[in-house]
């Protein structure tokens, strides 16, 4: 059974504010309960597959200067630095 407190704890980790949003918790719970179907299939022999490339197909090590003005198009930009909220 899914513990709703667990869902709330995860939301906090994901920087999601759940104030006034109990419906989110119950909906997420419903979706998770649907995922229980995954317990019913035999997966014992399965391995993870993935795309592969060889070393020589990778990007060559070259310096290519980028547009110096990129930083100006971003927000919170203050005299060259990006200004972030103060840390706790």
């Amino acid at each position: 059974m899914i513990d709703e407190n667990e869902i709330i704890r995860v939301a906090k980790l994901m920087k999601i504010d759940l104030e006034d949003h109990d419906e989110h918790v119950s909906r997420v719970k419903k979706m998770l309960e649907y995922f229980d179907i995954l317990d019913k299939i035999d997966l014992s022999s399965e391995e993870i597959t993935s795309q592969q490339k060889s070393l020589d197909e990778l990007r060559k090590d070259e310096f290519i200067p980028n547009d110096k003005k990129l930083i100006e198009s971003l927000k919170n930009f203050r005299e060259y630095y990006i200004r972030a909220p103060k840390m706790n």
Binding site: K53, D56, I64, K68, Y80, I82
Partner: protein, 468 residues
């Protein structure tokens, strides 16, 4: 029974570009936030592109540390929120589906011990945070992303170190090794960082993070060992935790247990395919690796009969070994080696001086030839070297301009000796009575001739004059 383990991060500053984009790997020359692009800024829709040479360099490091290297490597996402992480995840490596980081299960010999290297992984450096403001409450967080995406190699050791001193020796060996490979510049500020973990008497392992330099590392380790020992002596339990090094107060402090709340949700970085590094590629990398320091040293000792300590000094530094290898001949190898270790090292003792020096291997062999044919004295050679270092002029010119040719003519030397005998009457009397003090007089002659007098002849002539 102290046990220390290390987690070292080394930037691959010798690469041209960052790990996942074509911005410059060595960000130090740029104004803040002027070495960025959509990829390393993690702009929406941007995608990472893996740097081929970074993989090669990291694999070479793994091989140099005697690690096993896998056939395929993969990258993972480590998810957490922090202002210096443009994507709020770091692309790094993990060994989850078998061994998928660049290397592992290696070792480094430190004196008589084998320090086990648990794993080596390739990952991206985050940006840099600068705090502005006075009190903790008003501090503003300023971020510079120039460093975000710089290629890092993380080297993790087993807790095999027994003392902070051993750690220091290891770090020196490691720095030399990385520099010798031509992939990193450990001397650059911030290019190499290390965190550690400490346990004593088989107790809990304490991680120490936020250590700024190797110097601080030693201090932090000493402090932590002392702290744990004092707890142990008073029968107080040592908590297994993460502490951070407070550089201002020079102590380790318990980190708020935010670490424990952390869940990195590691999963494969699907924007980067697995990279196959087949055996022949790895063999080629191994062949092209610069010769290791220890094998160079062995070669110098065996082939040229150079004293081991001298060989060690030259082999450990690329600058000296290059000078040596281009200067020596079958006859003068030993002399060149000694010249380097006794004189050259004296004035070229920093990376900067190495870069600025104009001394070439040709200069060294010319000087050795001149010394051996008695054209100049060893002392004069030293003076000449200093000038050559600055001007780069060839030896003949320097000897001529500075009038450094050895004075071997007996009559010339005798004139100086007579002058000294007049000036140093007491020393002459002392020398007559106690012959071992004659070197004082020799020294005075050398002084007067600015080192040019043939010291052997001078001694001879002084002795005979004393006996008159």
């Amino acid at each position: 029974m102290t046990k220390i383990g290390l987690e070292i991060h080394c930037q691959l500053t010798k690469l041209e570009s960052k790990l996942f984009c074509s911005c410059k790997a060595n960000y130090r020359e740029f104004e803040p936030n002027h070495n960025i692009c959509p990829v390393c800024m993690g702009l929406p829709g941007s995608l990472p592109r893996l740097n081929q040479k970074a993989v090669e360099s990291a694999t070479s490091i793994a091989m140099a540390l005697s690690c096993e290297t896998p056939e395929k490597i993969a990258f993972f996402r480590k998810n957490y929120f922090y202002p210096d992480l443009p994507k709020n995840f770091q692309i790094t490596q993990l060994n989850v589906y078998g061994n998928t980081s660049v290397g592992g299960e290696g070792y480094v010999r430190v004196e008589d011990k084998k320090i086990k290297i648990r794993r080596i992984q390739l990952e991206e450096d985050p940006g840099r945070i600068i705090y502005e403001g006075v009190s903790d409450r008003t501090k503003i967080t300023l971020v510079d992303y120039n460093r975000a995406g710089t290629p890092l190699v993380e080297i993790v050791t087993d807790p095999d170190f027994e003392s902070p001193r051993q750690v220091r020796v290891f770090l020196n060996i490691l720095s030399d090794l990385l520099e010798n490979l031509g992939v990193a510049e450990p001397g650059l500020e911030g290019a190499m960082r290390a965190d550690g973990n400490v346990s004593i008497e088989g107790g809990s392992k304490v991680e120490i993070k936020n250590i700024g330099s190797f110097h601080d590392l030693e201090k932090a380790l000493h402090f932590e060992i002392t702290r744990q020992q004092s707890l142990f002596e008073r029968d107080i339990e040592i908590a297994q935790e993460t502490r951070h090094w407070d550089d201002r107060r020079k102590i380790t402090v318990s980190s708020r247990s935010k670490e424990e709340d952390q869940d990195y949700r590691y999963f494969l970085e699907n924007d980067i395919p697995w990279v196959k590094i087949d055996q022949s590629t790895r063999d080629t990398l191994k062949e092209n690796m610069p010769e290791s320091i220890s094998s160079k040293k062995e070669r110098y000792v065996e082939k040229f009969d150079i004293a081991p300590q001298v060989a060690e000094i030259i082999a450990s530094d690329r600058y000296y070994s290059k000078l040596f290898e281009n200067a020596y001949s079958v006859h003068n190898a030993k002399d060149i080696a000694n010249l380097i270790t006794t004189d050259v090292i004296g004035f070229i003792d920093t990376k900067e001086k190495q870069e600025k020096s104009k001394i070439t291997s040709q200069h060294l062999s010319d000087l050795i030839d001149a010394i051996n044919s008695k054209i100049i004295t060893r002392n004069s050679a030293k003076v000449a070297l200093q000038e050559i270092m600055k001007s780069g002029k060839d030896m003949k010119t320097v000897l001529h301009e500075m009038d450094l040719r050895q004075v071997s003519d007996s009559s010339e030397i005798n004139i100086i000796i007579s002058q000294i005998f007049d000036e140093e009457k007491q020393a002459v009397l002392d020398a007559k009575e106690r012959p071992e003090t004659v070197n004082f007089l020799v020294g005075k002659v050398m002084q007067k001739t600015k080192g040019k007098a043939d010291p052997v002849k001078t001694l001879e002539l002084i002795k005979s004059k004393l006996n008159q």
